[in-house]
Symmetry: D2
Subunit: 297 residues, 4 copies
């Protein structure tokens, strides 16, 4: 199986571009055509099965040029909308991943740059909250199981109860199929997330069913399975050379499978990219929920 | 008040060296005289009041030279003893502090280097645990309230219940009175700890009373209040110059109080020192509880 | 001797505020009073001796509030002026210090953020340089002698010849006398600099005499000698208590000298402060010499 | 062209395994079969042309398991031998690459961990050098041209003259063809090196011809060109499927060339791998030249 965490790529894998019943796709170019926002809704079990993704909404934001401002605006717009739609007020932002492994550090690094307010609201009261028109934001980077011995879901579950949280925003690094997608696509979904999925470690899914509160997941691809790079390119080359899809599938199945199966690769510029993306995501979340304080700084 | 987190320094402040009723002090030189271990027991309320520290045991380990091995041995010996005395089996190691501020990063950096076992025991069963004779270890670096909006105690409290923990080892950076003590003294106590105390932010105490399980705190001084440096040196100079203790106290109270009140300073070599100490503490904990695996690596 | 790298503090040490012949002091409040710029000119050998500093110009920029913009403007103004006065065109920016020791890392971290142009001008020619109105900028962080076995002056000397440099801007961390000055004062001087002076290692001075080209040094205090903190506070307290300056001097000379002599301390917030200051200095240098490119980004 | 910095891989590309005249290959398994050392000598111009590599010796060290000790021993043995063969006494170790980009940081990180002696020998004299039987070692991490505006060769050239160096050991990250080779092969050669070649930026070669002194280059692959991953796998799959080499070459030439041409990828574990490798290389150099001091620590 050629693996991807991006619903958009999962869609591309499915033959051609013909309709899949129960999967609705809307595309929109925004901000002077600099950002493309795609909304995919998987509505039926059939669509979910074909796509290999749970039912729900998947929003994909792609920046056409390396320009920060339109991208930031698009992320803020989508975050605010989805959080409003769900009616979430007390938010716990969760930064999944291992901060010591750069391509997996997106989540924790976002947490480091958030402006949290829960303790301030607790101290100064709801009038303070109203005056500045801010959300109740708390945050945690729970670490990964190899570091803590604890599932992220167990840590978060405890906090949700203790703090009476009504929604989670979970940030994580994802795996894409194409090297060119690395660092360039932001996916926002209401279907939750499996911690560590992006880097090959499947954990219990963090979603509404398991945690009892809404889970908005925001992810950006930072790794690619080396195997998928090969398979995708072989496929397009063979199709171009006149082979049928069926022949191609057989060829790929019989292909020499390298030891690089399950080897995830990332770009050589990973340090700078993950740093920049963590800054943009943190800024987007700060603007979305505590705008008054971002203006001050 | 001249502030210190070290019971040993608190003891030194008290006039002279005469007995304080309810405070028992034992000193021992170990490992070829390279390490000095001091055990202070505060047994009475009176002793506690005079010392300004809760009742309990305070073990202080001081390395006379910069030699890793004897120091490591002494720490392992004391950790194993206190954990055995308390009968703790399922341990959550908590790394308090802010990993972005080097002198406050001791706790989180220790966590990064621990060998945790809870998830392995959960997966491979108690026979695995028996075979390798390991403790059930989990770990977390909860972050500080300014980063998370949540008190460390709230995060830990949730985990304790969820995981059925029966004891906590909390690691934190401390404040000393003397620049020369920086990075050189390890304090182990069964009285718990106030997160952030070392760097001037008092939070709810993490102790048995508040958390319902034993709390062993391990701390190392990484900061000094600039004010206490001055006061201590003025005191010793004036005493040497023939003034009485009373006169000295009056002088100090009337002294020009700099704007450096509440300014904590650290040594210029803080990066390397905190890195090294976090390695030693992590190794000591790994040897104490999961020796089989430290041998393997 | 109470040590300082700041000419301004050296001036304060000298008794009272009476005139020192050959030392001229001008103060100016700028940018809506938010920044204080002090220009000290040491013109005579007598002034140089009393001050313990070489003859030349010392500009000190102090920000009254933690506001970036006015500070940045003031630095740019002073750098441009001094470089223009000296008629320097081909500039080598040298980041002195050890990037692994945060309070000593200011210089190397500035280098990391510079926009250099020498290689571009070499490739695209002088028309490119004229079109964008940029200086010819190259940069190096030579490391410290304990890392390289080589004096900074030897490394720089080789480059100056090879590249036909006509002026150096050397960035280094300095030592101040007062904890409150840490991170808050920017000193720009045309008298050169001793690498490592700030952290207690005196090396051969980098100045016009030794290197054959103009040397502009930019420094910011990031460490304080623990001893000077004590001595300064004792002095002001005893003076306030009615002792004469002479009595105070005798007292201080006879004072208990702690083992903290030659212990440099820094603030606990050193990580963030040095990071921010390195960003501001780098931005100031970029704006001063390659403004066209800073606008683009 | 499928690009590699490894002579061993260049050899593999050449059809079959038949003899190439002027290229001599010796393989040896050492240290209980844990390490494989391959020595390739390119002796003729013909061999050099076919291989696409300059004439000279290429030693490749491959560790079969992840065991540090045998690998370290093998590196020390080869470094000592090649340096002795060349009769180099005063050595400048050069850490090429950009320390801010982890897969390119190998060289600078090695420099950070070296024990340099030039300044000590200068201070304590040749008796000191004899007593401890140490080499005269200095070191520099010159940075990359985008950071400094200066070619590495220009910086090094200046230092060589000033310090009367008679040989250079240059450390750099390399590009491999196979993901599985990442971090696992150490290449030592006397043919010099092109700074930045590994990450796609060709600079003037650092070799004996250009610098006037012996240049030993030590490199480890940390990146792979995404394109070569694909081409190699397609080739082996098609050959296995019965196509002829000629047909395969045509197919690959006509293959869909992705936008990932010139995209270098690295493993997701790059942080830890480059850190470990830099420690091993630094330790090997320290043992080779200043053993007395490595024993002390």
């Amino acid at each position: 199986m050629r693996r991807t965490d991006l619903a958009l790529e999962a869609r591309e894998i499915i033959e051609g571009k013909e309709e899949i019943s129960g999967v609705i796709l809307e595309e929109e170019n925004k901000y002077g055509n600099l950002v493309k926002v795609t909304k995919m809704k998987i509505e039926s079990n059939h669509g979910s099965q074909i796509m290999g993704k749970p039912k729900g909404v998947y929003i994909t934001i792609e920046s056409k040029e390396e320009r920060k401002e339109p991208l930031l605006k698009a992320i803020v717009e989508q975050i605010k909308k989805i959080v409003e739609d769900k009616g979430i007020k007390k938010i716990l932002v969760v930064g999944l991943g291992n901060r010591e492994i750069t391509p997996d550090a997106l989540g924790p690094w976002v947490i480091d740059q958030l402006f949290v307010t829960r303790h301030l609201i607790k101290e100064f009261g709801q009038e303070f909250q109203k005056k500045y028109n801010i959300h109740d934001i708390s945050a945690i980077a729970p670490g990964v199981m190899a570091q803590t011995g604890i599932e992220s879901g167990e840590i978060i579950g405890g906090i949700i109860k203790k703090l009476d949280i009504d929604g989670i925003i979970a940030i994580d690094a994802l795996a894409a199929r194409k090297v060119q997608r690395l660092y360039k696509t932001i996916q926002i979904t209401d279907t939750g997330i499996s911690p560590g999925a992006g880097v090959g470690n499947n954990r219990k899914v963090l979603n509404k069913e398991n945690l009892g509160v809404e889970v908005i997941a925001i992810g950006i691809p930072t790794v690619v399975d080396a195997e998928t790079i090969v398979e995708d390119r072989v496929e397009s080359s063979l199709l171009k050379a006149g082979f049928s899809q069926k022949e191609v599938d057989i060829f790929i199945n019989q292909m020499v499978h390298g030891e690089d199966r399950n080897m995830f690769v990332t770009g050589k510029e990973v340090d700078e990219k993950v740093k920049n993306l963590s800054e943009i995501l943190a800024e987007a979340i700060n603007i979305s929920f505590v705008k008054a304080f971002t203006n001050l700084s």
